[in-house]
Structure formats: C-alpha cells, structure tokens
C-alpha cells in the first residue's frame, strides 16, 4: 500500500498538479494505474486546446488594444489642448473609521463566492512579515478598520487588464479542473520555454494568453518544428523580441529609414529556443538569421500591411540575397528562407539535446539522470521532434518513477495544487496573480527571455520559503473552516504521508494551522 501510494504521489505531483480534493478519487485512480493515469490525457483529442467563450484571437485583441490606445491618446491630446487638468479618477478617500460590514452568507452561493479567491494573497512584498502588518495599524488613530466592502475605490480595469485577467482565469480553471494535469504541466513547460513577458508593454500583456493558446497549445502534443514556427511568427513574440523593428539594411525600408537589424529574436531563437548555448552556432550565424527573418512582423493599427494584429511578411523590410547559417546557404525566397532555417535547426542534434535535458530537468531532477536524457534525445531525433512521443518516453521511463521527489513545486504549481486540493475552482484570478507576484513567478512575466528558472536553487530559497509559508497561512485563514486537514492529507498523499507530517497536522492547534502546515509539508511541496 505504501509503495502504491508513493507511486501515486509521483504520478500526481511529478507529472501533474497534485490530487484534487472532494470526491475526485484522483489518488485511488493514480495508485491503481499510475502510468495510465498520467497518459490518459495525452490521447484526448483537442484536450490541450483552450477554447473558452470570450477569449479572442490575437487580431481581435489587437483591434481592441489599438482602439483603446487611440482613445487614450485622443483624450490626452484633448486635455493638453484645453489646458485642463485630467479629471481626478479616484473617489474621495474612505474615512478610516467608517467601518461598514459586508453582508455575508445570505445564501450558500454567496458563501461560495465569498470564500473564493478575490484579493491578492498579499498586498505587496513590502508588507510581509508577522510584525510588519501590525505596525501601520498600531500607528494610526483608527487602526485596522478597513471593512471588507469599503476598499478604496479603484479605477475600472482597462481592456488590457481585463483581457489579461480573463486569460489568466481560463488557464487557472483548466489547471484546477484537469484530472492529472500532465497536459497542463506540458503547456506550462513549453510556454516557459518559448516565453514572452507581459511586462514588455500593452500589446504583450494583451497577447500573453492568446500567444499561448495559438502558438503553444496546438503543438504541445504535436511537432517541435511546428511549435517553433508558430512561436517565431506570432505577433506577441515578434513584439517581445523587437523583430517588428528589425529592418534588412539593404531592404527598401532599411534604405529609406536609415535603420537596420535587430538581432534580438534571432539570438534567442538559437540560444534559448533551439540549439542552446554552445550548440554550435556563431555570432555570424546569429546575424545571418537576423537578416533572414527581417520582414517578419505584424500589421499595426494603420493596417498598412494587412488586418491589424496579423503576422505578415513585409518584403519591403526583408534583407535581400542568400545567407549562410551554420554552413548551409539559404537562398532568398522570401518568408520561406526563414522557415527553412527554423525547420533545419529544429532538427539539429544540439536542439534535441538541449530540449531533452531541459525537459528531464523540469520533470525529474535538477541534475537529470543521463540515461533518461539520452533516451529523450533519441526520441526527439528519431521522431522529428514529436512532442507527444517525447512525453510518452518520459512517462514510460523507469527513471521518472524511481527518482526521489527532490524538486520543489514552482509557485504556480504550488498555488494551483492548493486550489485543486481545496476543490476551489477559481472564479477570480486576483489572489492567484497576487500570490505569484509575491512568490517571484508573476504570470507570463519572467524577467528575461530565458523564462523562469527551473531549479530548487530558485524556488526553495530562504525568502521564498518564508513567503510561501505566509501565503499558506493566508490561504488557510480563509479556507480552513469546514474542512478537516486530516482528510485532506489522505486525499493528497494517503499512505505516502510520513508519520511526522501526519502527527504535525494532527497536533496542530487549529484547522487553520493544520492546513497551513499541510500545504507546506514536504509531501505537498516536493514533486
């Protein structure tokens, strides 16, 4: 039984987002057929696509954001012309002592809403710490009198914020509801591999979700080469790595505007997306690729190149002539020149090795077993980058099941796993987004194009663990009423729970404390 439970824990936590609470039966199902449990999601047709009413295509989102930005600009110009001050957008400050309680639990559905995540898990990193939160309250004459309902009036969300939140919510709901969550974990892996950052600007924030839906998801169980092409031709990536600004020096546009190459995207394609550092390319190869993909851009608000927000090949910006990349000459046949390079480097042995290593590191161990990496590399090469075959090789390997659960869940995995275990389908992404910010993994917003780190050094860091504990305590303070943490431990780990963890939870002085400790237990944090 203990052995079965330990294998079930691997199936649920290493490959998925952890057991769901309630009557899901996840742990029992995972224990009875661990590999089948993990692989079941791989054979669901279209199971990886995220098609939710209200989520729009990249061009539709572009239209909305261009309109919004245009209105903003008009308003600014009008204000400047009339010399009028901008209207104050904030309402009068709420008197601190004017505490009005919020009507609560008039019905069960209201209870459900009330306990669903609504607010940032924490206000900001600056207010963390057991003592820090009390200090301002003690110092003020009317301390601690902010009622639930009377938050300072907030500006209405603009279309960019609304879109980002809707995309985030759809992704969180999918991850929370998924059976094992292996496919969603794969989405997160590939999305981080080919990351953009929403912090790049309004367009990036607007498109962060549609980029993942359009460029990543359709190929998560497809071919690497197809994903690579979809990513590098997606407006979000072209915007993120500045390729829409890159002009062939000898192209008509380059000549007219006296501007030229931007190597950013070309470099990251080779260094981060395919071959990896030391993958056999040189600076000349980067420059050549940069020239080759000049003209890869998207249509802007003016629609000069086509319908706004669509990928277009702008021949006017494209560097004419043949180019040599890694010893091979690519004739200038327009967009096909770059697509040919991508197809070749997608098949390059360095790419196979880079991807295999990163894949195994993500799922199995910071220092993955070399035999496993070799087998993944072989699969990748033999199948011409079939990512479903890659995932199956991982699940079929013995290493992925035998290696101890040494990795610490990323903040995203941790928060999603918590929501799953507590059987809370997110209805509002705010708390999740706040928690991810605090824990250093802001959604779709890594610090650089290399994405979020994927090692324990990053996530099991001192400050991170302390903040994770605070977040766990806050989750517990909201959600522990009416649940029994001992039952939750059974659902999360069953016989794989250690005696120490079991006793720590049983002896906790309250449900709240017990739940916080459960969420922080090695059984819940390690995968």
């Amino acid at each position: 039984m203990v052995r079965d439970s330990k294998i079930a824990l691997v199936a649920l936590n290493r490959f998925g987002f952890g057991a769901r609470g309630g009557a899901s039966g996840d742990f029992v199902n995972a224990a009875s057929d661990p590999r089948g449990f993990v692989k079941a999601e791989l054979s669901r047709p279209n199971g990886v696509l995220l098609e939710v009413p209200g989520l729009q295509s990249t061009p539709a989102l572009a239209k909305a954001v261009f309109e919004y930005q245009f209105e903003q600009q008009q308003a600014r110009e009008a204000a400047a012309k009339s010399g009028a001050e901008a209207k104050p957008t904030e309402g009068p400050p709420t008197p601190a002592g004017d505490a009005k309680p919020q009507r609560r639990n008039l019905s069960l559905s209201n209870i459900a809403q009330d306990i669903s995540p609504k607010e940032p898990a924490m206000q900001s990193p600056a207010t963390n710490g057991a003592n820090a939160t009390m200090a301002p309250a003690e110092a003020s004459p009317n301390p601690a009198m902010q009622p639930n309902a009377a938050k300072p009036p907030q500006q209405p969300l603009n279309v960019i914020q609304k879109t980002f939140r809707a995309e985030a919510l759809a992704r969180l709901q999918r991850a929370t509801l998924a059976e094992c969550g292996f496919v969603e974990r794969l989405v997160v892996f590939w999305s981080n591999h080919f990351c953009i950052s929403a912090n790049k600007g309004g367009l990036a924030r607007m498109w962060a979700g549609s980029f993942e839906r359009e460029a990543i998801r359709p190929h998560v169980l497809g071919r690497f080469g197809d994903m690579l092409k979809a990513v590098e031709q997606h407006p979000a990536m072209l915007f993120f790595l500045d390729n829409q600004q890159s002009l062939g020096p000898d192209s008509r546009a380059g000549q007219n505007r006296k501007r030229g190459l931007n190597e950013n995207l070309a470099r990251e394609i080779m260094e981060l997306h395919t071959l990896g550092v030391g993958g056999g390319y040189t600076q000349d190869d980067v420059t050549s690729l940069a020239r080759i993909i000049t003209g890869w851009t998207f249509a802007g608000r003016q629609a000069q190149l086509g319908p706004p927000g669509n990928f277009v090949f702008n021949a006017n910006a494209h560097q004419p002539g043949p180019q040599t990349v890694m010893g091979k000459v690519y004739q200038d046949n327009g967009i096909a020149q770059g697509e040919a390079v991508l197809a070749d480097i997608a098949r390059h042995p360095s790419t196979a090795k880079f991807i295999a290593t990163k894949f195994a590191r993500h799922f199995v161990a910071d220092d993955p077993p070399p035999a496993l990496v070799a087998r993944l590399q072989e699969t990748f090469s033999k199948t011409d980058g079939d990512l479903k075959a890659l995932a199956i090789t991982l699940v079929d390997s013995s290493e992925a099941w035998d290696a101890p659960l040494t990795k610490v869940r990323s903040p995203y995995e941790f928060l999603v796993a918590s929501g799953r275990l507590l059987a809370r389908i997110p209805e509002d992404p705010t708390r999740y987004l706040g928690g991810l910010n605090v824990l250093g993994q802001p959604l779709w917003s890594p610090a650089g194009p290399n994405g979020f780190p994927d090692t324990n050094a990053a996530w099991a860091a001192p400050e991170g663990m302390k903040l994770r504990l605070d977040i766990s305590a806050q989750i517990a303070s909201r959600l522990a009423e009416g649940i029994d943490p001992r039952d939750l431990l059974e659902l999360a780990a069953a016989d794989a729970a250690s005696e120490e963890t079991r006793h720590t939870i049983e002896r906790a002085e309250s449900r709240q404390q017990a739940l916080a400790l459960l969420l922080m237990s090695p059984e819940f944090q390690r995968r």
Binding site: P101, R104, T133, P143, M145, A508, E509, P522
Partner: protein, 374 residues
C-alpha cells in the same frame, strides 16, 4: 421573555482555539494538589507576580487585571470545570463540537449561534450577526444572515506555525529546514527585531485591535448585536510559562480585548454578555517541556454589564488523583451547553425546548444554568 421591549441583549462569544489551560487562567490555589501538579508554571497568591484572588479558593492569572476589575464590579464570572460533550482530544473535532453545538463532531455546516438567531422572534432588531475574520466561523454559519468584517492587516503565519514547520522539516527535509530557517531569520533581521514588539505581545496587540474594530461596529445604532470571533495560539505544549511567559501574553491579549469591548460598546456594554469558551482544557500535570497537553475540563468566562458576576461557579471535582478524568484531566462537572443555554435563554428569551432541540440538539439533559444574566 425579553428583558427590554426593543433591545436584544448583545452577545459576543469568543472562541479560544487551541485549548486554553483553564487551570493556569483561573487557578484553584486552594486545592492542595494544584501547585504540585501544575509544577513550575503554577500560579501562587504571593511572589513577584501574585495571582489575583477571586475568592478564597480561586485566583486569576495576573495578566488579566481588567477581567479582575470587572469581576469585582460584579460584571464578570467564571465557570470552572466545564467542558463540551466532546471527550476525545483532537483540536479540530473539539472545535467542531464547540461551534456546531452538536453532541459529536459530524461536519454539520451550521453553528449554534446561527440557529439561535433563526429562533429569535421575527421583527426584533437583531440585524445580522457579525463574523470577525476572513471567513464566517462555524458557530455563526447557517441560514440566518451574517455580516463579515476583517481587520485590514491579515495575519501572517505565526511564529508557532513556523516553528512547527521547521521541526517537521528537520525530521523530513533538511534542505527545506535550512532554507526556511534562514528565511525566518532574514525576515526578523529585515524588520529590526528590537524596533518591534516581540511576537507574543504583538499577538496581544492584534487581539485588542480586532476587538476594538468589532466593538466599534457593534456600537453603531444599526450595527450587529451579535458577534463571534476567534483567537488562536493557545496550544501551549511547551514553555507555557506561569505568571509571565507565553500564555501570560495571550491572556493579556484576551484581557485587553475584553476591555476594548467594554470601552468600545459604551452604554451598550450594560446589556452585553461576552462568552469566552474553548474546545477543551489541558492536562493537570505539566509535561516534560514545561507545558501541558490536551485535556478535558477547563473554564468558561462571562463578562459584560448584563452578567450577574463576581462569582466562580463550580462544582469543584478536586484534583486528587482519583478525581481526575482518566487520571490526567480536570473532571468536567458542568456542561458548557448548560452555560450557553442559560445565557441564550435569559438574554434572548429563547425557550428551553428550542434550545434543547434546535440550538443544541439532544441536549435536554444539560438544563440551562440559572441566573447567569442580571
């Protein structure tokens, strides 16, 4: 029968979560077995921190001067050797019984206070009950409307939780133990430890703030007349402390919270009853770590202008070895439900039948205690 035609007496039950050591809060200093059994943490009527004598037999913890004052003004009372109907020693189950009002833990999704609200005559100015904290506690959950209020500063993970986790990591996951320990140290250092109140006193300050906010809401003319709040941190397995120390700081917070209610409710305090209850008591004998383990009998406190106070109400079972429950705990001689039913009957005019069948199902044997409310 209502005491006043249009004012429902106020009620603020306070759950003290984690099992309050009743013998350390209201000490039977007159019982010859008390001092030897409670050992190094026993209260004494003399010494540098003398306990506050309530009568010739019981003494109050010195960290609670406000409660002592209310007691001597006859607006506070103690019920000793009390327990719910729960006889095992799990916090969660014990809290479940305490708040649900059912005879055993059963995952009932409503609490006795909410059911009491439902039983009130229609048209009374009850408004709705106030649930303090981020969620509605079980005691107030149910069909009757409630309102919620959360202090602005959400609690961070407490030191006690952090220490329990560090201990678990030390046994199971040394790498996480090291990371978390460093993180906690860094956090303390960043805050400038000496600039801040110590964690314990901080907890006491937090209790006062919560009570101040709740009292302010209840004092409003159209404010809620009933409120429930919970304080955590009473699970004093180690280094409980005697007249000073960890429990003393918690009791100081509780004492301060009662004073905040008294001050904040103003004229309404006259009609108020605050009930302080906990899921069970703690062992009579201290354990090997200067603390106490989960027990059975404990105390309940009543405070407020409506309380017929100045009394320790107890059918004292004595602390002789043969008198202890299972040889280790204070034997409960009073059913907590009888205390609460007594308050509900006199304060709200609820019928005994309703109390015995709806509010506290299957509790007919625990008759409402007489004369708790003036």
């Amino acid at each position: 029968m209502l005491r006043r035609p249009n004012v429902i007496g106020d009620l603020a039950p306070r759950a003290v979560r984690g099992a309050l050591d009743g013998l350390a809060t209201v000490a039977p200093t007159g019982d010859p077995d008390y001092a030897p059994l409670h050992g190094s943490i026993a209260l004494t009527p003399d010494g540098p921190h003398p306990a506050l004598m309530l009568d010739s037999f019981f003494a109050l913890h010195p960290a609670m001067p406000e409660f002592a004052r209310m007691y001597h003004e006859k607006h506070a009372a103690v019920i000793h050797a009390v327990a719910t109907s729960y006889r095992d020693r799990s916090h969660f189950d014990g809290q479940d019984v305490l708040e649900s009002g059912f005879a055993g833990p059963g995952r009932v999704q409503s609490g006795w206070l909410n059911r009491a609200l439902q039983a009130l005559p229609k048209g009374e100015r009850v408004m709705s009950a106030l649930a303090v904290g981020p969620t509605t506690p079980l005691v107030l959950r149910g069909a009757a409307p409630t309102v919620g209020w959360t202090p602005a500063a959400l609690p961070q993970a407490g030191d006690d939780t952090a220490m329990r986790l560090v201990e678990l990591y030390q046994h199971r996951d040394p790498a996480l133990a090291s990371a978390l320990t460093q993180g906690l140290l860094l956090d303390k250092a960043a805050q400038g430890d000496d600039m801040k109140p110590k964690p314990g006193t901080n907890g006491a300050a937090a209790m006062r703030l919560v009570a101040r906010g709740a009292a302010k809401l209840m004092a409003a003319d159209d404010g809620p007349r009933i409120a429930a709040l919970a304080f955590d941190g009473w699970d004093t397995h180690a280094n409980e402390g005697g007249p000073v120390g960890r429990l003393a700081q918690l009791l100081s917070g509780l004492d301060g919270a009662l004073a905040e209610f008294e001050g904040g409710l103003g004229a309404r305090w006259r009609d108020t009853v605050v009930v302080v209850a906990t899921e069970f008591g703690r062992t009579v004998r201290i354990n090997g770590t200067e603390g106490t383990d989960h027990g059975t009998g404990t105390i309940a406190l009543l405070a407020g202008g409506a309380v017929k106070g100045g009394r320790v109400i107890s059918d004292w079972p004595s602390l002789k070895p043969a008198s202890l429950y299972q040889g280790r705990d204070l034997l409960p001689t009073t059913d907590l439900r009888a205390v609460i039913k007594g308050v509900l009957r006199d304060q709200f005019g609820l019928a005994e039948r309703v109390l015995a069948e709806t509010v506290f199902p299957d509790s007919a044997a625990a008759k409402p205690m007489q004369g708790l409310v003036a």
